[in-house]
Protein backbone atom coordinates (compact mmCIF):
# COMPACT_ATOMS: atom_id res chain seq x y z
CA UNK A 1 0.00 0.00 0.00
CA UNK A 2 1.37 3.35 -1.02
CA UNK A 3 0.15 6.26 1.09
CA UNK A 4 0.73 9.92 0.27
CA UNK A 5 0.40 12.76 2.74
CA UNK A 6 0.36 16.35 1.50
CA UNK A 7 1.99 18.78 3.93
CA UNK A 8 2.47 22.52 4.12
CA UNK A 9 4.69 24.86 6.15
CA UNK A 10 2.57 27.19 8.28
CA UNK A 11 3.51 29.84 10.85
CA UNK A 12 3.74 28.53 14.41
CA UNK A 13 0.31 28.84 15.96
CA UNK A 14 1.83 31.03 18.69
CA UNK A 15 3.52 33.35 16.17
CA UNK A 16 2.36 36.93 15.86
CA UNK A 17 1.59 37.54 12.21
CA UNK A 18 2.60 40.84 10.62
CA UNK A 19 1.38 42.11 7.27
CA UNK A 20 4.28 42.54 4.85
CA UNK A 21 5.36 45.79 3.21
CA UNK A 22 3.38 44.99 0.04
CA UNK A 23 0.12 44.87 2.02
CA UNK A 24 -0.74 41.56 0.36
CA UNK A 25 1.36 38.90 2.04
CA UNK A 26 2.55 38.16 5.56
CA UNK A 27 6.08 39.10 6.53
CA UNK A 28 7.81 35.75 7.19
CA UNK A 29 10.92 37.29 8.79
CA UNK A 30 11.29 36.25 12.40
CA UNK A 31 8.27 33.94 12.15
CA UNK A 32 8.87 30.32 13.04
CA UNK A 33 7.27 27.92 10.57
CA UNK A 34 6.11 24.46 11.51
CA UNK A 35 4.59 21.41 9.88
CA UNK A 36 0.84 22.10 9.70
CA UNK A 37 -0.68 20.55 12.86
CA UNK A 38 -3.45 18.79 10.88
CA UNK A 39 -0.82 17.58 8.41
CA UNK A 40 1.31 16.21 11.25
CA UNK A 41 -1.61 14.19 12.57
CA UNK A 42 -2.29 12.88 9.07
CA UNK A 43 1.33 11.73 8.91
CA UNK A 44 0.90 9.96 12.25
CA UNK A 45 -2.24 8.21 10.96
CA UNK A 46 -0.61 7.32 7.66
CA UNK A 47 2.18 5.48 9.49
CA UNK A 48 -0.50 3.20 10.97
CA UNK A 49 -2.23 2.75 7.61
CA UNK A 50 0.74 1.98 5.39
CA UNK A 51 1.45 -1.48 6.81
CA UNK A 52 4.36 -2.96 4.88
CA UNK A 53 3.92 -0.31 2.22
CA UNK A 54 5.42 3.08 1.65
CA UNK A 55 4.63 6.52 3.04
CA UNK A 56 5.48 9.43 0.74
CA UNK A 57 5.12 13.06 1.85
CA UNK A 58 4.60 15.79 -0.74
CA UNK A 59 4.96 19.53 -0.33
CA UNK A 60 4.86 22.51 -2.67
CA UNK A 61 6.43 25.76 -1.56
CA UNK A 62 9.47 27.94 -1.11
CA UNK A 63 12.91 26.35 -1.35
CA UNK A 64 14.65 28.62 1.14
CA UNK A 65 13.99 30.95 4.04
CA UNK A 66 11.80 30.53 7.09
CA UNK A 67 8.97 28.92 5.12
CA UNK A 68 11.21 26.46 3.23
CA UNK A 69 8.99 23.48 2.40
CA UNK A 70 12.00 21.12 2.43
CA UNK A 71 12.42 21.65 6.16
CA UNK A 72 8.84 20.62 6.79
CA UNK A 73 9.32 17.55 4.61
CA UNK A 74 12.22 16.69 6.94
CA UNK A 75 9.84 17.07 9.90
CA UNK A 76 7.48 14.57 8.30
CA UNK A 77 10.37 12.23 7.51
CA UNK A 78 11.48 12.45 11.15
CA UNK A 79 7.97 11.41 12.18
CA UNK A 80 8.34 8.25 10.10
CA UNK A 81 7.61 8.97 6.42
CA UNK A 82 9.85 7.03 4.03
CA UNK A 83 10.60 9.61 1.36
CA UNK A 84 9.57 13.04 0.17
CA UNK A 85 8.63 14.88 -3.00
CA UNK A 86 9.31 18.60 -3.16
CA UNK A 87 7.54 20.81 -5.70
CA UNK A 88 9.42 24.12 -6.05
CA UNK A 89 7.30 27.26 -5.99
CA UNK A 90 9.01 30.63 -6.09
CA UNK A 91 5.80 32.53 -5.30
CA UNK A 92 3.92 30.42 -2.74
CA UNK A 93 2.33 33.43 -1.02
CA UNK A 94 -0.10 34.08 -3.82
CA UNK A 95 -0.79 30.57 -5.02
CA UNK A 96 -4.48 29.73 -5.27
CA UNK A 97 -5.72 26.38 -3.92
CA UNK A 98 -6.58 24.97 -7.36
CA UNK A 99 -3.03 25.56 -8.59
CA UNK A 100 -1.66 23.80 -5.49
CA UNK A 101 -4.07 20.89 -5.99
CA UNK A 102 -2.99 20.60 -9.64
CA UNK A 103 0.69 20.53 -8.65
CA UNK A 104 0.08 17.87 -5.99
CA UNK A 105 -2.04 15.81 -8.41
CA UNK A 106 0.67 15.96 -11.06
CA UNK A 107 3.39 14.93 -8.58
CA UNK A 108 1.30 12.06 -7.20
CA UNK A 109 0.19 10.84 -10.67
CA UNK A 110 3.83 10.82 -11.72
CA UNK A 111 4.55 8.14 -9.11
CA UNK A 112 2.56 5.49 -10.97
CA UNK A 113 0.16 4.39 -8.26
CA UNK A 114 -1.51 5.62 -5.10
CA UNK A 115 -3.78 3.79 -2.67
CA UNK A 116 -4.52 6.47 -0.12
CA UNK A 117 -3.90 10.19 0.03
CA UNK A 118 -4.20 12.09 3.29
CA UNK A 119 -4.30 15.84 3.75
CA UNK A 120 -4.88 17.94 6.82
CA UNK A 121 -8.42 19.34 6.72
CA UNK A 122 -6.97 22.82 6.30
CA UNK A 123 -3.73 24.73 6.35
CA UNK A 124 -3.55 26.56 9.66
CA UNK A 125 -2.59 29.81 7.96
CA UNK A 126 -4.94 30.56 5.05
CA UNK A 127 -7.64 28.05 6.08
CA UNK A 128 -9.05 27.58 2.58
CA UNK A 129 -10.12 23.94 3.24
CA UNK A 130 -10.00 23.45 -0.50
CA UNK A 131 -6.90 21.58 -1.61
CA UNK A 132 -7.96 18.10 -0.41
CA UNK A 133 -11.33 17.98 -2.21
CA UNK A 134 -9.84 19.60 -5.33
CA UNK A 135 -7.02 17.06 -5.35
CA UNK A 136 -9.57 14.21 -5.19
CA UNK A 137 -11.44 15.68 -8.14
CA UNK A 138 -8.28 16.06 -10.21
CA UNK A 139 -7.23 12.48 -9.44
CA UNK A 140 -10.81 11.31 -10.07
CA UNK A 141 -11.06 9.51 -6.73
CA UNK A 142 -13.61 9.82 -3.91
CA UNK A 143 -13.03 12.25 -1.06
CA UNK A 144 -14.01 12.11 2.61
CA UNK A 145 -13.41 15.27 4.60
CA UNK A 146 -12.91 15.90 8.32
CA UNK A 147 -11.98 12.35 9.27
CA UNK A 148 -11.67 11.63 12.99
CA UNK A 149 -11.08 7.91 12.53
CA UNK A 150 -9.66 5.77 9.75
CA UNK A 151 -9.02 2.08 9.17
CA UNK A 152 -7.86 0.53 5.96
CA UNK A 153 -8.43 -3.07 4.84
CA UNK A 154 -9.15 -5.02 1.65
CA UNK A 155 -8.99 -2.09 -0.73
CA UNK A 156 -11.42 -0.07 1.35
CA UNK A 157 -11.24 2.57 4.03
CA UNK A 158 -13.69 2.91 6.88
CA UNK A 159 -13.75 6.54 7.90
CA UNK A 160 -15.42 8.24 10.83
CA UNK A 161 -16.15 11.85 10.09
CA UNK A 162 -17.38 14.52 12.45
CA UNK A 163 -20.61 15.99 11.15
CA UNK A 164 -22.74 18.46 13.11
CA UNK A 165 -23.99 16.71 16.21
CA UNK A 166 -23.13 13.20 14.99
CA UNK A 167 -20.31 10.98 13.79
CA UNK A 168 -20.75 9.41 10.37
CA UNK A 169 -19.06 6.12 9.53
CA UNK A 170 -18.36 5.90 5.82
CA UNK A 171 -16.95 3.07 3.78
CA UNK A 172 -15.09 4.24 0.72
CA UNK A 173 -13.22 2.32 -1.97
CA UNK A 174 -9.56 3.09 -2.45
CA UNK A 175 -7.82 5.00 -3.80
CA UNK A 176 -9.35 7.98 -2.06
CA UNK A 177 -8.41 11.35 -0.63
CA UNK A 178 -9.17 11.76 3.06
CA UNK A 179 -8.74 15.03 4.92
CA UNK A 180 -7.99 14.71 8.63
CA UNK A 181 -9.46 16.48 11.64
CA UNK A 182 -7.56 17.10 14.84
CA UNK A 183 -8.81 13.86 16.38
CA UNK A 184 -7.64 11.69 13.50
CA UNK A 185 -4.49 10.78 15.45
CA UNK A 186 -2.61 11.81 18.56
CA UNK A 187 0.08 14.35 17.94
CA UNK A 188 3.40 12.56 17.48
CA UNK A 189 6.75 14.02 18.42
CA UNK A 190 9.97 13.14 16.66
CA UNK A 191 12.69 11.26 18.50
CA UNK A 192 16.03 13.01 18.26
CA UNK A 193 17.67 10.08 16.47
CA UNK A 194 14.87 10.08 13.91
CA UNK A 195 15.62 13.74 13.17
CA UNK A 196 19.14 12.64 12.25
CA UNK A 197 17.84 9.68 10.22
CA UNK A 198 15.50 11.99 8.28
CA UNK A 199 18.56 13.69 6.83
CA UNK A 200 19.43 10.48 4.97
CA UNK A 201 15.94 9.81 3.59
CA UNK A 202 15.49 10.73 -0.08
CA UNK A 203 13.59 13.82 -1.20
CA UNK A 204 12.98 14.07 -4.96
CA UNK A 205 12.20 17.32 -6.73
CA UNK A 206 9.16 17.41 -9.02
CA UNK A 207 9.13 20.43 -11.31
CA UNK A 208 5.68 21.81 -12.02
CA UNK A 209 4.81 24.46 -14.59
CA UNK A 210 2.72 26.75 -12.39
CA UNK A 211 -0.23 28.26 -14.25
CA UNK A 212 -0.80 32.01 -14.28
CA UNK A 213 -2.58 32.96 -11.03
CA UNK A 214 -6.34 32.70 -11.38
CA UNK A 215 -6.94 34.93 -8.43
CA UNK A 216 -4.98 37.43 -6.48
CA UNK A 217 -4.94 38.58 -2.87
CA UNK A 218 -5.47 42.31 -3.30
CA UNK A 219 -4.97 43.29 0.31
CA UNK A 220 -4.22 41.81 3.71
CA UNK A 221 -5.11 43.47 6.98
CA UNK A 222 -4.81 42.40 10.60
CA UNK A 223 -8.00 41.21 12.29
CA UNK A 224 -10.08 43.96 13.94
CA UNK A 225 -8.98 45.03 17.41
CA UNK A 226 -11.09 43.38 20.10
CA UNK A 227 -13.94 45.56 21.35
CA UNK A 228 -13.45 46.97 24.85
CA UNK A 229 -15.05 44.98 27.67
CA UNK A 230 -18.16 46.03 29.54
CA UNK A 231 -18.88 45.75 33.27
CA UNK A 232 -22.54 44.88 33.64
CA UNK A 233 -22.74 45.06 37.42
CA UNK A 234 -21.33 43.50 40.58
CA UNK A 235 -22.14 40.41 42.62
CA UNK A 236 -24.97 37.91 42.11
CA UNK A 237 -27.38 40.69 41.02
CA UNK A 238 -25.42 41.07 37.80
CA UNK A 239 -25.80 37.44 36.76
CA UNK A 240 -29.18 37.68 34.95
CA UNK A 241 -27.99 40.63 32.88
CA UNK A 242 -24.68 38.87 32.15
CA UNK A 243 -26.49 35.72 30.97
CA UNK A 244 -28.78 37.81 28.78
CA UNK A 245 -25.89 39.61 27.13
CA UNK A 246 -23.87 36.41 26.65
CA UNK A 247 -26.91 34.90 24.96
CA UNK A 248 -28.23 37.77 22.88
CA UNK A 249 -25.27 39.99 22.20
CA UNK A 250 -22.14 37.83 22.36
CA UNK A 251 -24.00 34.71 21.12
CA UNK A 252 -21.66 32.74 23.37
CA UNK A 253 -24.45 30.84 25.11
CA UNK A 254 -27.36 28.90 23.69
CA UNK A 255 -29.90 28.54 26.49
Amino acid sequence: MRVFVCVKPVPDTAARIKVGGDGKTIDPSGVKFILGPYDARSVAKAIECKGDGELVVVSAGAGKGENDANKRLKDALALGADRGIYIPDDAPENRDPLAVAKALAAAISNEGGHDLILCGRQAMDDQALSVGPMLATLLDVPCVTDAVGLEVADGKAVVQRAAEGRVETIEVTLPAVITGQRDLADEKYPKLKDILKAKKKPVATFEFAWPAPAYEVVSLSPPPEPVAGKIVGEGPDAVPELLKLLQDEAKALAL
Binding site: K71, A78, Y189, L192, K193, I195
Partner: protein, 392 residues
Amino acid sequence: MSEFRGVDFFELDDLLSDEERAIRDAVREFVDRELIDNLTIEKHHRAGTFPKHLVPLLGELDCLGVTLPEKYGGGGMNNVTYGLINQELERGDSGLRSFVSVQSSLCMYPIFTFGSEEQKQRYLPGMAKGEIIGCFGLSEPDHGSDPGGMETRAVKDGEGWVINGTKRWITNGSIADIAIVWAQTPDGIRGFIVPTDSPGFSAPLIPGKFSLRASVTSELIMEDVKLGPEALLPETMGLKSPLMCLSSARYGIVWGVIGSMMAVFDEALRYTQQRPQFGKPLAGFQMVQEKLVWMHTEMTKAQLVALRMGRMKDEGKLKHYHVSFGKRNNCWAAREIAKLGRELLGANGVCDEYQVMRHLMNLESVYTYEGTHDIHTLAIGQHLTGHSAFRG
Protein backbone atom coordinates in the same frame (compact mmCIF):
# COMPACT_ATOMS: atom_id res chain seq x y z
CA MET B 1 3.41 25.80 20.85
CA SER B 2 5.56 28.08 22.92
CA GLU B 3 5.95 31.77 22.32
CA PHE B 4 9.54 31.35 23.48
CA ARG B 5 11.92 32.00 20.60
CA GLY B 6 15.33 32.00 22.24
CA VAL B 7 17.80 34.80 21.80
CA ASP B 8 20.05 34.92 18.74
CA PHE B 9 21.53 38.40 18.36
CA PHE B 10 24.41 37.37 16.10
CA GLU B 11 22.40 34.89 14.02
CA LEU B 12 24.29 31.92 15.40
CA ASP B 13 21.50 29.74 14.04
CA ASP B 14 23.25 30.18 10.69
CA LEU B 15 26.22 28.31 12.17
CA LEU B 16 24.07 25.34 13.17
CA SER B 17 23.09 22.51 10.83
CA ASP B 18 19.42 21.92 10.02
CA GLU B 19 19.52 18.82 12.22
CA GLU B 20 21.10 20.67 15.16
CA ARG B 21 18.36 23.29 14.98
CA ALA B 22 15.61 20.70 14.56
CA ILE B 23 16.84 18.71 17.57
CA ARG B 24 17.06 21.87 19.69
CA ASP B 25 13.52 22.83 18.69
CA ALA B 26 12.21 19.34 19.47
CA VAL B 27 13.69 19.46 22.98
CA ARG B 28 12.41 23.02 23.42
CA GLU B 29 8.93 21.83 22.63
CA PHE B 30 9.30 18.85 24.97
CA VAL B 31 10.29 21.18 27.82
CA ASP B 32 7.36 23.49 27.12
CA ARG B 33 4.93 20.62 26.95
CA GLU B 34 6.10 18.43 29.81
CA LEU B 35 7.69 20.87 32.25
CA ILE B 36 6.58 24.48 31.84
CA ASP B 37 3.12 24.74 30.29
CA ASN B 38 1.52 22.21 32.66
CA LEU B 39 3.24 23.76 35.71
CA THR B 40 5.10 20.51 36.45
CA ILE B 41 8.25 22.34 37.41
CA GLU B 42 6.48 24.74 39.74
CA LYS B 43 4.75 21.89 41.57
CA HIS B 44 7.95 19.88 41.96
CA HIS B 45 10.02 22.88 42.91
CA ARG B 46 7.54 23.85 45.59
CA ALA B 47 7.32 20.28 46.90
CA GLY B 48 11.07 19.75 46.68
CA THR B 49 10.67 16.65 44.51
CA PHE B 50 12.21 15.48 41.25
CA PRO B 51 9.82 14.89 38.31
CA LYS B 52 10.96 11.29 37.97
CA HIS B 53 8.13 10.45 35.59
CA LEU B 54 10.06 12.42 32.94
CA VAL B 55 13.03 10.00 33.00
CA PRO B 56 11.53 7.39 30.62
CA LEU B 57 10.25 10.23 28.43
CA LEU B 58 13.78 11.65 28.23
CA GLY B 59 14.95 8.19 27.20
CA GLU B 60 12.25 7.85 24.59
CA LEU B 61 13.12 11.25 23.17
CA ASP B 62 16.81 10.11 22.92
CA CYS B 63 18.13 12.70 25.39
CA LEU B 64 20.30 10.29 27.42
CA GLY B 65 23.84 9.45 26.32
CA VAL B 66 23.44 11.43 23.12
CA THR B 67 27.13 11.48 22.17
CA LEU B 68 27.70 7.75 22.71
CA PRO B 69 27.54 5.29 19.79
CA GLU B 70 24.16 3.92 18.77
CA LYS B 71 25.59 0.43 19.31
CA TYR B 72 25.15 0.99 23.06
CA GLY B 73 21.84 2.83 22.79
CA GLY B 74 23.46 6.26 22.50
CA GLY B 75 22.49 8.93 20.03
CA GLY B 76 25.65 9.07 17.91
CA MET B 77 25.32 12.87 17.94
CA ASN B 78 27.95 15.57 18.06
CA ASN B 79 28.86 17.69 21.06
CA VAL B 80 27.12 20.82 19.78
CA THR B 81 23.88 18.85 19.71
CA TYR B 82 24.53 17.61 23.26
CA GLY B 83 25.10 21.22 24.28
CA LEU B 84 21.89 22.44 22.65
CA ILE B 85 19.92 19.69 24.41
CA ASN B 86 21.39 20.79 27.75
CA GLN B 87 20.52 24.39 26.95
CA GLU B 88 16.89 23.58 26.30
CA LEU B 89 16.54 21.35 29.36
CA GLU B 90 18.01 24.01 31.63
CA ARG B 91 15.64 26.62 30.19
CA GLY B 92 13.08 24.46 31.99
CA ASP B 93 15.07 23.86 35.15
CA SER B 94 18.68 23.27 36.18
CA GLY B 95 17.50 20.17 38.05
CA LEU B 96 16.30 18.43 34.90
CA ARG B 97 19.51 19.32 33.09
CA SER B 98 21.51 18.10 36.09
CA PHE B 99 19.79 14.74 35.85
CA VAL B 100 20.77 14.41 32.20
CA SER B 101 24.34 15.64 32.83
CA VAL B 102 24.82 13.06 35.56
CA GLN B 103 23.22 10.22 33.66
CA SER B 104 25.06 10.99 30.40
CA SER B 105 28.41 12.58 31.24
CA LEU B 106 29.09 11.24 34.72
CA CYS B 107 27.69 7.70 34.47
CA MET B 108 27.28 6.54 30.87
CA TYR B 109 30.48 8.27 29.76
CA PRO B 110 32.75 6.53 32.33
CA ILE B 111 31.16 3.13 31.66
CA PHE B 112 31.74 3.70 27.95
CA THR B 113 35.26 5.08 28.42
CA PHE B 114 36.63 2.96 31.27
CA GLY B 115 34.30 -0.05 31.25
CA SER B 116 34.68 -3.58 29.90
CA GLU B 117 32.65 -4.66 26.89
CA GLU B 118 30.48 -6.68 29.25
CA GLN B 119 29.82 -3.64 31.48
CA LYS B 120 28.93 -1.52 28.44
CA GLN B 121 26.48 -4.12 27.13
CA ARG B 122 24.98 -4.65 30.56
CA TYR B 123 24.32 -1.05 31.54
CA LEU B 124 24.40 1.43 28.67
CA PRO B 125 21.31 0.44 26.64
CA GLY B 126 19.12 0.48 29.79
CA MET B 127 20.60 3.78 30.89
CA ALA B 128 19.89 5.32 27.48
CA LYS B 129 16.24 4.32 27.89
CA GLY B 130 16.11 5.74 31.41
CA GLU B 131 15.41 2.27 32.84
CA ILE B 132 18.65 2.30 34.85
CA ILE B 133 19.43 5.55 36.70
CA GLY B 134 22.99 6.37 37.63
CA CYS B 135 24.70 8.66 40.12
CA PHE B 136 28.33 9.72 40.46
CA GLY B 137 30.13 9.60 43.80
CA LEU B 138 33.30 11.67 43.94
CA SER B 139 32.78 14.55 46.44
CA GLU B 140 32.93 13.73 50.12
CA PRO B 141 31.81 15.64 53.22
CA ASP B 142 35.38 16.83 53.81
CA HIS B 143 36.71 16.78 50.25
CA GLY B 144 34.99 18.97 47.67
CA SER B 145 37.40 21.02 45.60
CA ASP B 146 40.20 18.64 46.60
CA PRO B 147 38.86 15.22 45.54
CA GLY B 148 42.35 13.73 45.59
CA GLY B 149 42.12 13.74 49.39
CA MET B 150 39.18 11.34 49.36
CA GLU B 151 38.83 8.97 52.30
CA THR B 152 36.66 6.32 50.66
CA ARG B 153 38.68 3.11 50.44
CA ALA B 154 38.27 -0.03 48.37
CA VAL B 155 40.31 -3.01 49.53
CA LYS B 156 40.76 -6.37 47.88
CA ASP B 157 38.57 -9.13 49.25
CA GLY B 158 39.48 -12.38 47.51
CA GLU B 159 38.54 -11.83 43.86
CA GLY B 160 36.33 -8.88 44.74
CA TRP B 161 36.37 -5.69 46.76
CA VAL B 162 35.06 -4.13 49.97
CA ILE B 163 34.26 -0.41 49.96
CA ASN B 164 33.91 1.91 52.95
CA GLY B 165 33.30 5.63 52.88
CA THR B 166 30.82 8.49 52.52
CA LYS B 167 30.09 10.61 49.46
CA ARG B 168 28.09 13.85 49.58
CA TRP B 169 26.24 16.21 47.23
CA ILE B 170 25.35 13.33 44.94
CA THR B 171 22.73 14.22 42.32
CA ASN B 172 20.28 11.33 41.70
CA GLY B 173 21.75 9.44 44.70
CA SER B 174 18.49 8.32 46.31
CA ILE B 175 16.82 7.31 43.03
CA ALA B 176 19.83 5.66 41.40
CA ASP B 177 20.09 1.99 40.50
CA ILE B 178 23.86 2.16 40.20
CA ALA B 179 26.49 4.49 41.63
CA ILE B 180 29.81 5.21 39.93
CA VAL B 181 31.94 5.38 43.08
CA TRP B 182 35.53 6.60 43.17
CA ALA B 183 37.73 5.14 45.88
CA GLN B 184 41.35 4.92 46.97
CA THR B 185 42.90 1.53 46.27
CA PRO B 186 46.45 0.23 46.56
CA ASP B 187 46.76 1.19 42.85
CA GLY B 188 45.53 4.75 43.37
CA ILE B 189 42.03 6.09 42.69
CA ARG B 190 39.78 3.66 40.77
CA GLY B 191 36.14 3.72 39.75
CA PHE B 192 33.53 1.09 40.66
CA ILE B 193 29.98 0.37 39.50
CA VAL B 194 28.11 -0.13 42.77
CA PRO B 195 24.54 -1.47 42.62
CA THR B 196 22.56 0.64 45.08
CA ASP B 197 20.77 -2.41 46.46
CA SER B 198 24.08 -3.81 47.74
CA PRO B 199 24.02 -4.63 51.48
CA GLY B 200 25.73 -1.85 53.41
CA PHE B 201 24.85 0.83 50.83
CA SER B 202 22.41 3.63 51.70
CA ALA B 203 21.63 6.97 50.07
CA PRO B 204 19.72 9.36 52.37
CA LEU B 205 18.41 12.61 50.89
CA ILE B 206 20.05 15.87 51.92
CA PRO B 207 17.11 17.88 53.25
CA GLY B 208 16.44 21.60 53.30
CA LYS B 209 17.98 22.75 50.03
CA PHE B 210 17.13 26.24 48.80
CA SER B 211 18.59 25.31 45.42
CA LEU B 212 17.94 22.59 42.82
CA ARG B 213 14.78 21.75 44.74
CA ALA B 214 13.44 19.77 41.80
CA SER B 215 16.51 17.53 41.84
CA VAL B 216 17.54 14.68 44.12
CA THR B 217 20.70 15.39 46.14
CA SER B 218 21.95 12.72 48.50
CA GLU B 219 24.67 11.26 50.62
CA LEU B 220 26.05 7.85 49.74
CA ILE B 221 27.03 5.83 52.78
CA MET B 222 29.00 2.65 52.20
CA GLU B 223 29.67 0.35 55.14
CA ASP B 224 31.55 -2.81 54.18
CA VAL B 225 29.88 -2.94 50.78
CA LYS B 226 31.06 -6.17 49.14
CA LEU B 227 31.48 -6.12 45.39
CA GLY B 228 32.46 -8.76 42.86
CA PRO B 229 35.44 -8.28 40.56
CA GLU B 230 33.05 -7.19 37.80
CA ALA B 231 32.32 -3.95 39.72
CA LEU B 232 35.70 -2.40 38.93
CA LEU B 233 35.87 -0.13 35.88
CA PRO B 234 39.05 -1.74 34.52
CA GLU B 235 40.45 1.22 32.59
CA THR B 236 40.21 3.77 35.42
CA MET B 237 43.59 4.91 36.67
CA GLY B 238 44.08 7.76 39.12
CA LEU B 239 42.29 11.06 39.64
CA LYS B 240 42.50 11.79 35.91
CA SER B 241 39.65 9.35 35.24
CA PRO B 242 36.94 11.14 37.28
CA LEU B 243 38.29 14.50 36.10
CA MET B 244 37.68 13.41 32.49
CA CYS B 245 34.05 12.72 33.43
CA LEU B 246 33.77 16.12 35.08
CA SER B 247 35.25 17.82 32.04
CA SER B 248 32.53 16.27 29.90
CA ALA B 249 29.78 17.28 32.34
CA ARG B 250 31.18 20.80 32.73
CA TYR B 251 31.07 21.21 28.98
CA GLY B 252 27.32 20.47 29.16
CA ILE B 253 26.90 23.02 31.93
CA VAL B 254 28.52 25.70 29.75
CA TRP B 255 25.54 25.26 27.42
CA GLY B 256 22.96 24.47 30.05
CA VAL B 257 23.22 27.80 31.83
CA ILE B 258 22.53 29.60 28.53
CA GLY B 259 19.06 28.07 28.74
CA SER B 260 18.68 29.51 32.21
CA MET B 261 19.87 32.92 30.97
CA MET B 262 17.37 32.81 28.11
CA ALA B 263 14.48 31.92 30.41
CA VAL B 264 15.33 34.75 32.80
CA PHE B 265 15.93 37.32 30.07
CA ASP B 266 12.76 36.37 28.20
CA GLU B 267 10.70 36.74 31.35
CA ALA B 268 12.33 40.02 32.40
CA LEU B 269 11.96 41.55 28.94
CA ARG B 270 8.28 40.63 28.64
CA TYR B 271 7.57 41.80 32.18
CA THR B 272 9.22 45.19 31.80
CA GLN B 273 7.57 45.75 28.43
CA GLN B 274 4.15 45.02 29.86
CA ARG B 275 4.21 46.60 33.32
CA PRO B 276 3.54 50.34 33.36
CA GLN B 277 4.80 52.61 36.15
CA PHE B 278 4.63 56.39 36.13
CA GLY B 279 2.55 56.16 32.96
CA LYS B 280 4.93 54.19 30.76
CA PRO B 281 6.29 50.62 30.56
CA LEU B 282 9.22 49.83 32.86
CA ALA B 283 11.20 48.96 29.73
CA GLY B 284 11.13 52.64 28.79
CA PHE B 285 13.29 53.66 31.77
CA GLN B 286 17.03 54.08 31.34
CA MET B 287 18.02 52.06 34.40
CA VAL B 288 15.85 49.16 33.28
CA GLN B 289 17.29 49.26 29.79
CA GLU B 290 20.82 49.28 31.17
CA LYS B 291 20.08 46.05 33.06
CA LEU B 292 18.41 44.42 30.06
CA VAL B 293 21.30 45.34 27.77
CA TRP B 294 23.84 44.04 30.25
CA MET B 295 21.97 40.74 30.55
CA HIS B 296 21.65 40.46 26.79
CA THR B 297 25.33 41.25 26.20
CA GLU B 298 26.64 38.67 28.66
CA MET B 299 24.20 36.05 27.37
CA THR B 300 25.27 36.65 23.77
CA LYS B 301 28.96 36.40 24.71
CA ALA B 302 28.22 33.17 26.57
CA GLN B 303 26.57 31.75 23.45
CA LEU B 304 29.62 32.52 21.33
CA VAL B 305 31.89 30.82 23.87
CA ALA B 306 29.70 27.72 24.03
CA LEU B 307 29.39 27.28 20.29
CA ARG B 308 33.14 27.69 19.75
CA MET B 309 33.81 25.18 22.53
CA GLY B 310 31.37 22.72 20.97
CA ARG B 311 33.00 22.86 17.58
CA MET B 312 36.45 22.49 19.18
CA LYS B 313 35.26 19.49 21.20
CA ASP B 314 33.93 17.89 18.03
CA GLU B 315 37.32 18.48 16.42
CA GLY B 316 39.12 17.00 19.44
CA LYS B 317 40.82 20.29 20.24
CA LEU B 318 39.06 21.29 23.46
CA LYS B 319 41.38 21.36 26.49
CA HIS B 320 40.48 21.30 30.16
CA TYR B 321 41.39 24.99 30.52
CA HIS B 322 38.92 25.88 27.77
CA VAL B 323 36.26 24.03 29.74
CA SER B 324 37.29 25.92 32.88
CA PHE B 325 36.92 29.19 30.96
CA GLY B 326 33.43 28.31 29.77
CA LYS B 327 32.21 26.92 33.07
CA ARG B 328 33.61 29.89 34.99
CA ASN B 329 32.35 32.57 32.64
CA ASN B 330 28.95 31.20 31.73
CA CYS B 331 27.88 30.18 35.22
CA TRP B 332 28.95 33.57 36.56
CA ALA B 333 27.05 35.35 33.79
CA ALA B 334 23.96 33.23 34.37
CA ARG B 335 24.02 33.97 38.09
CA GLU B 336 24.45 37.72 37.57
CA ILE B 337 21.72 37.73 34.91
CA ALA B 338 19.35 35.90 37.23
CA LYS B 339 20.00 38.47 39.98
CA LEU B 340 19.21 41.33 37.60
CA GLY B 341 16.17 39.51 36.28
CA ARG B 342 14.90 39.11 39.82
CA GLU B 343 15.40 42.83 40.42
CA LEU B 344 13.54 43.76 37.26
CA LEU B 345 10.51 41.79 38.35
CA GLY B 346 10.36 43.70 41.63
CA ALA B 347 8.32 42.02 44.34
CA ASN B 348 6.81 39.61 41.82
CA GLY B 349 10.30 38.28 41.24
CA VAL B 350 10.35 36.46 44.57
CA CYS B 351 7.21 34.42 43.83
CA ASP B 352 7.22 31.07 42.07
CA GLU B 353 4.55 32.31 39.68
CA TYR B 354 7.61 33.65 37.84
CA GLN B 355 10.76 31.69 37.06
CA VAL B 356 13.55 34.15 37.84
CA MET B 357 14.01 33.33 41.52
CA ARG B 358 13.93 29.58 40.87
CA HIS B 359 16.69 29.98 38.30
CA LEU B 360 18.63 32.28 40.62
CA MET B 361 18.47 29.77 43.46
CA ASN B 362 19.38 26.89 41.15
CA LEU B 363 22.37 28.77 39.80
CA GLU B 364 23.85 29.07 43.29
CA SER B 365 24.46 25.32 43.03
CA VAL B 366 25.50 25.38 39.39
CA TYR B 367 28.01 28.14 40.18
CA THR B 368 29.43 25.93 42.92
CA TYR B 369 29.26 22.36 41.66
CA GLU B 370 31.54 20.74 39.10
CA GLY B 371 34.38 22.98 40.19
CA THR B 372 33.62 26.26 41.90
CA HIS B 373 34.10 29.57 40.13
CA ASP B 374 37.28 30.14 42.16
CA ILE B 375 38.77 26.73 41.44
CA HIS B 376 38.27 27.28 37.70
CA THR B 377 39.94 30.69 38.09
CA LEU B 378 42.98 28.94 39.54
CA ALA B 379 42.92 26.24 36.85
CA ILE B 380 43.11 28.92 34.16
CA GLY B 381 45.69 30.80 36.23
CA GLN B 382 47.84 27.69 36.35
CA HIS B 383 47.56 27.28 32.58
CA LEU B 384 48.59 30.90 31.98
CA THR B 385 51.41 31.15 34.50
CA GLY B 386 52.68 27.63 34.91
CA HIS B 387 52.22 27.96 38.69
CA SER B 388 49.60 26.06 40.65
CA ALA B 389 47.96 28.36 43.19
CA PHE B 390 45.82 25.63 44.71
CA ARG B 391 48.04 22.61 45.19
CA GLY B 392 50.11 22.87 48.36
